[in-house]
Symmetry: C2
Subunit: 272 residues, 2 copies
């Protein structure tokens, strides 16, 4: 496995089919499953480890975001990654004068809660796509809205890359794997699976044509009663993320949630 | 020569060295000289003809911008262009949800006078670069600020393209070639060369260390006296376009001007 930190050291890999997994490190089984999928379907597997400052708001956890780089590299090596691109912020952000922005879906939910976040994501993913020239890029559906933003950007700017979105991996108790789970206190860790539990519960209700407004309101109350501070809990169409209330309103939809336990913000979703 | 209007019809030209000249059509000798340079230094010459709606402000001349497509294609053919990409606005703008923006130099002069203009330019040039994958792209220095914006974008987003900027071509009387010159009335056409005349005059003055503030003020008065409504006339550093007043302030600099004759906005510059 080759670890590359400088843009100028990136190799030409003419003729190779490149599978690419962009990450912010602090790797868990969710990332590794994306890398295994890349490995299985391409001739070269490239992963990036880059804690992207542009996608953090000033009040967020950029500084304390976990960076266990040695363990991350061991994990990449173990799953058979060929190249890890691990640039510094200076190297990849550069002058930072050019930004890529996606209108529409970025203004809702995560975009509303975290203004500028998706612009930071889109800008850095555009750079990574340009530098690493993947044939296929792998993303986890836990960040559903991020997947939709990337898909729109790839379509609009005509990036010659295929996108592969993989289902969320979970702990045995249902908690979606996330690098931020390590922030949770023991008490909060015990409460955390209730976020997925309520999404499944509401999923059953709306698919049984029960009153979705009532289901969502009760869901929020249940989360609040269990120590969550709910940012949003909604049922939305996919890919445009309009709030919906009836099965017939969209052929594809998702239940989406973001909520705090203490200072830790968890997000999760279920595709219907 | 092949004329392509659909993105899906664009060919693969593996192994060819591609020279690319993006234009809005209404071709003049300035464009043709860029195409000849592309032809001389590449194995395939691609030109685009696309009146980009994103770079026009609502009150500007998008609707009446000249579109002499048959004559343009004849001219392309005559200089030996291999492929002309001539998409519809729907085809190239698409959903129009993703935009590429360049901070800094875009906020001054042309960017100030035409808010959103450079975002429109950068977004469409990014798409054209992605779709046409040129090795070298050719731009005219008459649009100096545009050249600087493209250069910043290419650097920041790591487009694998070399940029070639060519000197402004002029009529015998000094007027910079521009597709918009055809809008000028006979009287205005006679006055128009005075824009370049005053730039040359001030260029001589500032290089002789005369008072640049006075030179610029007199220049504006001269233009006004000759029927121009001056938008800006300034001396700026290159590439960052800070206003300067002394030779020592920047190793590279330019005198830049934008002014109206009637409804027609002319721009010009001299690199020092």
């Amino acid at each position: 496995m080759r670890v590359i930190t400088k843009i100028s050291d990136l190799p030409d890999y003419l003729g190779m089919k490149v599978g690419f997994v962009p990450t912010m490190g602090a790797l868990h089984e969710g990332h590794l499953s994306l890398m295994r999928a890349a490995k299985a379907n391409n001739s070269l597997t490239v992963a990036s480890i880059f804690v992207n400052p542009l996608q953090f708001l000033p009040n967020e956890d950029y500084g304390r975001y976990p960076r266990p780089i040695e363990r991350d590299l061991e994990l990449c090596e173990a799953v058979g990654v060929d190249i890890v691109f691990n640039p510094t912020a200076d190297e990849l952000v550069g002058d930072g004068l050019t930004t890529v922005a996606v209108e529409g879906v970025t203004e809702l939910y995560e975009g509303l809660a975290r203004p500028g976040h998706f612009e930071g994501v889109a800008t850095i993913v555009a750079k990574l796509f340009m530098l690493l020239r993947p044939n296929v890029a792998y993303f986890g559906l836990k960040d559903l809205q991020q997947c939709l933003v990337i898909r729109q950007m790839v379509k609009d700017l005509h990036f010659p890359v295929e996108l592969a979105f993989s289902p969320t991996l979970r702990e045995d108790d249902g908690l979606a794997l996330s690098s931020r789970n390590r922030y949770l206190s023991e008490t909060h860790r015990r409460a955390a699976p209730k976020l997925y539990e309520i999404l499944r519960h509401i999923s059953g209700q709306v698919q049984a044509n029960e009153n979705s407004d009532a289901a969502l309101t009760e869901g929020k109350q249940y989360l609040a009663a269990n120590g969550f501070v709910v940012d949003y809990l909604d049922w939305v169409s996919v890919p445009d993320m309009r709030s919906i209330r009836e099965i017939g309103e969209s052929s594809e939809s998702a239940l989406i949630a973001a909520a705090y336990l203490g200072k830790t913000r968890l997000i999760d979703n279920i595709l219907l």
